[in-house]
């Protein structure tokens, strides 16, 4: 019985991988986006935004160094939204039905889908970190290993958010709204581009919003892990959001709750 679950997981990951290989432009654009930030934005702002000594850094760091964890999280954020988009697409094209008529429990199918997306996003994150290394952003070697569990957890959380959104988005056209109302606010109201104490100087309220932003938890967990440290608060926050988003997504896809149905009506 457990074997059946594993075969299912393997099948879903293989399919996601094959689709990913077939969409090479998706991989390139997922990589180009953070590199533009790193090569151009960070270079331009290096002089404007000095970052003082603050954990996990034990010395003054260049702005490039500061934003790399945020850009890694951004890769995962886009990946989560991308899989949300592909689920909506799957649903319109009908291939979501193939998944949902599997005899395995629906929550498990959604978790498999999520894990497949995370696998892809972790690979993307490492490719980006490799490029950043050549650009001079060189965290300790151990950090590259320590960041793996952080990447998995943050990838799961952002993927679960995507899954939840996909259960609400009725049509592909609505996806532009997701960009405006989810990706941009999450990214800018976080510690990805500037430390929170800087934000607090201009607006304490905004700093509080940033502090509870799920994306901030992801950024901070990755940032600390990359320097071999563990941020307990971020880790707990991240896990909490993961459970919340995943539970809501599973409810959203539960046939008894009829969310699927309102979309499909009338068949």
């Amino acid at each position: 019985m457990i074997a059946a679950y594993l075969h299912c997981l393997r099948g879903i990951i293989v399919r996601e991988g094959l689709r990913f290989v077939h969409q090479r432009e998706r991989f390139v654009s997922a990589l180009v986006r953070p590199l533009v930030w790193l090569f151009i934005f960070a270079a331009g702002f290096r002089a404007v935004l000095g970052v003082s000594v603050m954990p996990p850094y034990d010395t003054y760091v260049l702005y490039e160094v500061y934003i790399v964890p945020g850009l890694v999280a951004m890769i995962q954020l886009f990946n989560g939204m991308q899989s949300s988009l592909s689920i909506v697409y799957d649903r319109e094209m009908g291939s979501m039905k193939t998944l949902l008529i599997s005899p395995l429990p629906r929550w498990y199918l959604l978790v498999c889908k999520l894990l497949a997306g995370v696998t892809v996003s972790v690979l993307q994150a490492y490719v980006f970190l490799a490029v950043a290394w050549f650009w001079g952003v060189q965290p300790p070697l151990l950090g590259y290993l320590a960041v793996l569990p952080a990447l998995i957890l943050s990838g799961l959380m952002l993927g679960a958010l995507g899954l939840l959104l996909s259960s609400f988005i009725k049509q592909l056209e609505n996806f532009a709204g997701v960009m405006n109302f989810v990706i941009f606010p999450m990214f800018f109201a976080s510690s990805a581009l500037y430390p929170l104490w800087r934000v607090r100087e201009s607006s304490p309220l905004l700093a509080d919003i940033c502090a509870v932003n799920p994306f901030t938890q992801a950024v901070e967990l990755i940032r600390f892990a990359l320097y071999g440290q563990f941020d307990l608060v971020a880790c707990l926050g991240l896990a909490g959001y993961l459970v919340l988003f995943l539970a809501c997504a599973i409810i959203g896809y539960d046939p008894a709750r009829g969310l699927m149905e309102r979309r499909g009506a009338p068949g």
Partner: protein
């Protein structure tokens, strides 16, 4: 007209729908639908577009959940034992559901994995299914390069990979030429005859139904008739099924062309 409902589970019908109703908001899509399909029988679900056929399929496959009435697959209630029921059924949806950019084999392997079948078990089954569908030479081709008839045959082959005992096909011949249509019909009848699979074939095309088939006429969400073609024709006092259908649904029956398509 229905098969006895109280049969022991061993001889339970392939599909037993009883008193099933479903509404989208205020619009009733299905109203007290009851019928059953025995194992080894080719049953045609005949109805115009918008009659509720696709809604019924979505309920049987648990894409929607039924809140009133029951659906049993070989005795297993779809709502209470979804895993048991879903494992017994193979489905070909009206909408095409294959991944166009993956090959035939990749699509079928994905399906096998979703059913928890080990790769070693799935491989020979896929080869066998493709041989039976006459598609061995297309195994490595992308779905995108196949014709409409071939895609349908792949979908039927896929629906059979996990060896279901109930096959559901929702207007599987839409958009196919006459030759491919006949091929698929013959193939489906063969499955009933030789493998003892119970089969529900939704259609709005009367000429897809042959003498001796079971026919269930669905109109505006209600079952108007259920029985062999001969019985239904005789009961309505008509000469043939087409007339019987027209008499029951009325010549001014709603022609909501395109309505209810996903």
């Amino acid at each position: 007209m229905n098969a006895p409902a109280n049969e022991p589970a061993a001889g339970a019908p392939a599909l037993a729908v009883s008193d099933l109703s479903h509404a989208f908001g205020k619009a009733k899509a299905l109203d007290g639908v009851s019928f059953s399909v025995p194992a080894g029988r080719f049953a045609a679900l005949l109805g115009q577009n918008g009659a509720g056929k696709t809604t019924l399929f979505s309920l049987i496959t648990r894409l929607y959940n039924n809140r009133s009435g029951s659906i049993r697959v070989y005795g297993a209630d779809v709502r209470q034992q979804p895993s048991v029921a879903l494992a017994q059924m193979g489905v070909v949806f009206q909408q095409r559901t294959l991944d166009l950019d993956l090959s035939v084999v990749q699509n079928l392997s994905y399906h096998a994995a979703l059913h928890g079948i080990a790769p070693g078990v799935a491989r020979p089954r896929i080869a066998e299914a493709l041989a039976r569908a006459g598609l061995d030479d297309k195994a490595r081709q992308k779905i995108r390069t196949l014709s409409g008839g071939q895609i349908r045959r792949v979908e039927i082959a896929r629906a059979l990979i996990h060896r279901p005992r109930l096959l559901l096909l929702d207007e599987p011949t839409v958009g196919l030429d006459i030759g491919s249509r006949q091929d698929i019909l013959d193939h489906a009848r063969l499955l009933c005859r030789e493998e003892g699979i119970g089969l529900l074939w939704a259609t709005h095309l009367i000429d897809e139904i042959a003498d001796g088939d079971q026919v269930i006429i669905l109109h505006r969400g209600r079952v108007l008739a259920d029985g062999t073609v001969e019985d239904v024709v005789r009961q309505s006092g008509a000469d043939n099924l087409r007339d019987a259908f027209t008499r029951m649904t009325g010549p001014t029956g709603p022609r909501t062309a395109g309505g209810g398509k996903p």
